[in-house]
Symmetry: C2
Subunit: 191 residues, 2 copies
């Protein structure tokens, strides 16, 4: 269900083609929700059949067309309803924690190396999230700019801060994980 709501949230900012959305879910929002191309196209058609979005065929050259989807009033209602409801937390399913829980079964050096790579990944992810947070605060991303054209200018700063805060959270969690992993490396080698 969440992919559908993620798509609605993005299309609410700007109507887009499937191709645009594929790019988007590989990059920016990729830090929040990842989805491959083979999942996005069928989902868009299902959402259109369900009346949540409607597709508009634009000509691109003499033969090619692209289908630009926008959120219908019904889709808008569904999105607002979903956003306003607390949902059960997703069941925990982090392969890395399964790995860490069994580090006592392997050599200290090997566990140390696995943690090293994990730390690098988390730091990189935190850096990227913070960079994106700053771009949002500066209202310097395409999607935010387009979203703001439809909102009261008095709200622009508040909206930018809210979006930025989500990426600040992603970064904070990644830093916490990295620090935890460093502590784990110390535990592996001590005494």
């Amino acid at each position: 269900m969440s992919l559908q709501h993620a798509l609605l949230g993005v299309l609410e900012a700007r109507p887009m083609s499937g191709y645009d959305l594929v790019q988007f879910f590989d990059s920016s929002t990729g830090w929040i929700w990842a989805a491959p191309q083979s999942q996005i196209y069928p989902t868009l058609r299902r959402m259109e059949r369900a009346g949540l979005i409607s597709g508009d065929d634009e000509p691109r050259g003499p033969k090619l067309t692209r289908t630009v989807y926008s959120v219908t009033p019904q889709g808008r209602t569904e999105l607002e309803q979903w956003l306003s409801t607390p949902h059960d937390p997703a069941p925990p399913r982090d392969p890395f924690l399964v790995q860490a829980l069994n580090f006592d079964e392997i050599d200290v050096e090997k566990a140390h190396a696995v943690l090293e790579q994990f730390i690098a990944e988390q730091e990189k992810s935190a850096d990227e999230a913070e960079a994106h947070r700053d771009r949002l605060l500066a209202k310097d991303t395409m999607l935010l700019k387009e979203r703001l054209t439809r909102r009261d200018p008095a709200d622009h700063d508040r909206i930018a801060r809210l979006k930025a805060h989500v990426f600040a959270g992603v970064a904070a969690v990644a830093r916490t994980r990295a620090e935890w992993a460093r502590e784990g490396q110390r535990l592996l080698t001590e005494d």
Copy 2:
């Protein structure tokens, strides 16, 4: 794949029946990896066919039997190999972040309420993880005790600390998320 490795990790501590594992993945390890009964039984049979575990039928009363699975040498090798290899990070897929990213689309009070429930969940999850961390440090869980019977007593403290550290990490992340959500509540209402 990860469910299989999670199962191997648990069975390495103690051979268990499918029923035991169902209980286990609903509770303790539920904070690390959750799996329903309908997934566990077929997975065990697939793993047995693959030679990773072997099932031993124990009689329970005159008619009933339970199948106790234990890790084969091949399963042990596979587990060690997987544990020693760094893996690509799991694609981000957190429905709550999708929700938070669109809080500007709904009423402040509604977003505030959703955050309130999120904070309560995270604090609860942090409390539970910390309680489990303490039980592990005190070597006071069934599974850890049984695991330690097969390990050099000189390593017992180190092993307990390593396991406990994983749950300390789960708790730290949950606290970070809760603090982030409180900051989000302040952002919603300010100015």
